[in-house]
Amino acid sequence: MHFDFALLTMGKTFFFGILPYVTAGIFFLGILYRFSVWMRTPVPLRIVTTPGPKTRTGVLWRLIGDVLWFPNLFKADRSLWVAGWSFHILLWLVLLRHLRYFLYPVPEWVAGIQTAVLYAGYFIPIPLIFLLARRLVIDRTLFVSILGDYAALILLLSITFSGLLMKLFFRTDLIDVKALIHGLIHFRVLSIDVSWLFTFHFLFVTILLITFPFSKLMHGGGLLLSPTRNQRASFEERFINPWDFSVDYNDHNLSTPEKYRETLGESREGEKG
């Protein structure tokens, strides 16, 4: 029995003491890596979608609009827009509410939104379940959905439900949770007992954060670098392709007006228009 206990302690130390740092490292470095790959890949042509903004300020507004409102989706599919947009807003609200576990002392505004934003947490499964059902019900989305698409939604649902269960039925000791998180932030690993439900909540978030940089969940970051959205529609300025090369005609496709000099005879000696 003594041996088992030691193993359990080691497991806990790894899970709450080492894994979070590994996760944070993979999450941030992964995102940096993805951005660096995209940013160093050149944009050879101007492919901005009409109607495109003419100025840099215009581009900024377009991107802000894209991030906050999903205007293209609004045009494309209204019910999907309602679900997708509300999910993202609710997710941000819930994340803001979670700041109280990370900040000490808790800022007044974070304390102030706690009760109101609690409802965001209650509502968040609705769009998620809609998005999952939609994938399965519409023949078009069913056709294109892959395991990873379902996995992302199920993972988000798992995080949500483990969180809600903790809130509503199996209350966890928040003082311990906060002590644990603060220990991690200040590089002091504490041996604290937390509830099994919290352990699952923590695990699901860990999986999400580790896979995040390498999955389609990077779509938010990608949007900012999407050439059709972040380019200017100003055609006065010449757009230079950084890897442009010169082209030559070969013997088979060398065709100049000279080739037809005989056919054209005198008549091709330019006439004044």
């Binding site: 790959v37 995209w38 890949t41 050149p42 944009v43 050879p44 492919i47 979608t49 009409t50 894209d66 999903f70 293209n72 989706l73 045009k75 494309a76 599919d77 999907l80 997708g84 939609r134 519409i138 023949d139 078009r140 989305t141 056709f143 294109v144 959905s145 892959i146 395991l147 990873g148 698409d149 996995a151 390498f214 999955s215 389609k216 990077m218 779509h219 990608g222 949007l223 999407s226 050439p227 059709t228 959205r229 090369f245 082209v247 005609y249 088979h252 496709n253 060398l254 065709s255 100049t256 007006p257 037809y260 056919t263 054209l264 008549s267 091709r268 330019g270 006439e271 004044k272 228009g273």
Partner: protein, 295 residues
Amino acid sequence: MPVSVPEVRTGASSHQKCHPAKEKDMVKIDLPRERDRDWKETMLKKMAEVLDRYRSVRLFLDICVKCGACADKCQFFLGTGDPKNMPVARADLLRKVYKRYFTLGGKIWGRANEAEELDERVLDEWVTYFYQCSQCRRCSVFCPYGIDTAEITMAAREIMAAAGVGTKYVTEVVAKVYDTGNNLGIGPAAWKDMSAFLEEDLKELEGVDIRFPVDAVGAEVLLVPPSADIFANTDTMIGYAKMFHGAGISWTTSTYCNEGGNFGLFLNYANLKKINNRIIEAARRLKVKKIYWGE
């Protein structure tokens, strides 16, 4: 009026394939005469190059969330019901191969990421469905991230072209531009003749001498119309002449470059550029000040 969205009918347009390119055209447009024996290696090499050269392609392959917003916006899907004509599924044809060979996730857990080997069957699908896209970019207007399937289609065609896989329609037209200056294959003599014919027509019609200058050195404007304007839509051609006449602007067409459309767009970057270059070459040769160009 809202368009009715068809039910998914798997494989509905899988039999509709373009005629393969002819050797004589491939030679003229600097592509391999026929499909490479090592076509798979050639294509993967080209794919690596395309991924390093086009942020659009790499980014669009990476960030699609498969929400389906584009699915019912493509006329090829609306017309056929073939699910592989949904922009997201069309891009998936390339995305699967990208995941298999160029991403960590696809290499280690291919199933979850739907990674796929590049083989004969995949190439057959590429030839079929990447040529059932007209690169109209309608999907990009509805995608929340602006994913532009035309970029994907162009990339796939560029990759196929590098290994000597092309279609007769596109390669023949590009080759014709190098032969005659335009897509329709109208030779210089014929172009001059048609211009003279339109002059006569217009004289009869309006009783005014309105010129259709060809290869006129020193004109102010070089007009590069779609060649169909002199061949079929002659009213448009007559319209240009009337407009220039009325405005008192001297102008000319060129027998070296008389095509406003560029089929290089449907094939590869080198030919796209080469065809566009002809416009500049013609303008320099004719010493014009401006180019009016369009299709």
